[in-house]
Amino acid sequence: MGNDGVSVSIRNLSLNFGAVSVLKSLDLDIQDGEFLVLLGPSGCGKSTLLNCIAGLMDVTDGQIHIKGRNVTWEEPKDRGIGMVFQSYALYPQMSVRGNLSFGLKTAGMAKDEIAKRVARTADVLQIEPLLDRKPSQLSGGQRQRVAIGRALVRDVDVFLFDEPLSNLDAKLRSELRVEIKRLHQKLANTMIYVTHDQIEAMTLADRIAVMRSGQIQQLDAPQTIYSRPVNRYVADFIGSPGMNFIEGEVVLSDGAPRFRFDGLDIPLANYQFDKAGAQAGQATFGIRPEHVAVNSGDDWPFSASVPVEIVEPMGSDTLVWSRLGKQALTIRVSSERAPRVGENVTIGFDPMNASLFDAASGDRL
């Protein structure tokens, strides 16, 4: 195929509802067999983008190619996609078997071919004992598996998931999350997954597209997004508990960049500036709670003594709220070594793990 290993290709996609621009000139290439997660808060356009790829919404401008074919104006059924919905959307009056086979029957497929596919799908998803039950007789997790099965029987290349786990409780969610990952490993299909939950995104994705207001902020592997967020918005969105942001300014002192705030000074020698290099100006210094060491005794490029204001035990870890200069700082420590409220502790970190953002634009420096 002349698609160079690109499964889904989106070019200049725009979608307007009247005067409101929901998707703004998006470009996105998804590789064969890739698990891509569209991540963002409500209203960022991720579900809309998925619906456009599926063909459930008409685009205002731009093109969509699936497996090298231009499907911009094709019906959903002709795009070679299968879709799983948040509310499962199983046909309530049909049995599981009926749900799986209805679409195939309508397409005029031979009975034995249908039976074969249904059996295979039931095997993969382990829903064989459920085949004759009605959706109302299934649990949430079982229903979602049937919903996935409905997409599976279509023998398509691309699977679309629209927040499929949001209706489930936390425990079930983590169980099914693993199942989906296993499924992806087994089938190796391209999967496009929409969610607002960063844990799902981080655990499942090959790449994450963080979206905001109809535009993709960053498209990278999870670890890259985590360690080198491309702007403050992405940095804030990923990571729980969230990144610490310290307002201050970058000054160049004898050519060496330093970050000054509240009378304190962080040397930025280890920090990887982007192509433009270090430039003076208002900036925000971001450091994740887990990258701040407490009472470690090691030599850190920056260290300070901070008061412990609040201690939040979270089980294996404890979140310590303190103050660096005049600004809040959260620190993650192992619960075994948690300090007590009122204590002063010595913290240290390396700017290599930090992110520096331009105060005005939020872009990474």
Binding site: N51, A54, G55, L56, E75, P76, K77, D78, I81, G82, M83, F85, Q86, S87, Y88, A89, L90, Y91, P92, Q93, M94, F102, G103, T106, A107, R150, A151, R154
Partner: protein, 301 residues
């Protein structure tokens, strides 16, 4: 120390929720006296030969014998069956189609809905009179079409014995389909959007989606609508009186009119009671098995 048990007895069920029970007494009395009492009274007096005023002179099944040998009664039942079955089918089909069309997120949906529902606000008498004029051969549809050039066009159902009941059917459908449409529309609105999307992704054509997925999901709405339509059918009286007075030649008679005419015009209460008891019986024959299936079966499950 004695071992007296200090157990508080569970308060008598009868006095629980006393306020609600007292408040419902008027309605219960009404139901018992008026509905139940009236029904029993009517059935009892249908075995008498009451004329203008009720009197307790029992004559066994005489009234029923006379009823079932009256050609007018047979015509009435026939008409009601034809009207009933067709009214049911067409109301549901047309109502559902209109609802499906309105559900397509069209503009001016509110306007269309008002237009379709408007006839329902009219009484059967007004509906009957209006359609009598529309179907009148001298100045209604037939006249208008003829004046447009088609000289031999004939559309005169109200004066043709064989098809007068269809003329009444048209008026009845015009009046009642709007309500069916609104009920169906409400039902359609209750269908999860994602079901439509899933069906579309599955490649199921729209009509099949309606037929095999959406309509089965709307079963409760259909049942409610069915009951409403059915009650309108059995009550059929004022439409017939206003539109055709039971004519021509008694061809559009209906049971409710038979009851009224014999009770008041013919000053023969006994005959009227017998007819209305038959109407009650026919409704019971349909409702009782259905109620058993709907509610009785569940107790076992």
């Amino acid at each position: 120390m004695n071992t007296t048990e200090d157990t508080t007895r569970r308060p008598s069920q009868l006095f629980r929720n006393l306020n609600a029970k007292v408040a419902s007494i008027p309605m219960i009395m009404t139901a018992l006296l008026v509905f139940l009492g009236g029904t029993v009274w009517t059935i009892v007096y249908s075995f008498t030969n009451s004329k203008l005023l009720p009197r307790l002179k029992f004559v066994g099944l005489d009234q029923y014998e006379r009823l079932w040998s009256a050609s007018r009664w047979w015509t009435s039942i026939e008409n009601l069956l034809v009207y009933g079955v067709l009214s049911l089918i067409f109301s549901l089909v047309i109502g559902f189609l209109l609802a499906a069309l309105l559900d397509q997120k069209i503009r001016f949906e509110g306007l269309f809905r008002t237009i379709f529902l408007y006839p329902f606000a009219l009484s059967f008498v007004v509906t009957g009179l209006t359609w009598q004029w529309i179907l009148n051969p001298d100045f209604g549809v037939q006249h208008i079409v003829r004046s447009l050039g088609w000289e031999s066009f004939v559309f005169n159902p109200l004066y043709d014995q064989r098809i007068v009941i269809y003329g009444i059917l048209i008026a009845g459908l015009w009046q009642g389909t709007g309500l069916v449409m609104c009920l169906m529309l409400a039902g359609l609105r209750g269908i999860d959007e994602d079901i439509w999307k899933a069906a579309r992704v599955d490649g199921i054509p729209t009509w099949k989606t309606y037929l095999f997925i959406v309509i089965p999901m709307m079963r409760p709405v259909f049942i409610t609508t069915l009951v409403i339509i059915a009650s309108g059918i059995v009550r059929l009286y004022d439409l017939v009186v206003a539109q055709t007075s039971g004519g021509p030649g008694g061809a559009s008679e209906v049971p409710a009119k038979y009851v009224y005419d014999y009770m008041f015009l013919a000053q023969n209460l006994g005959q009227g009671f017998a007819a209305s008891t038959m109407m009650l019986l026919s409704v019971a024959i349909i409702v009782v098995p259905w109620a058993y299936l709907e509610f009785g079966g569940k107790k076992r499950g």
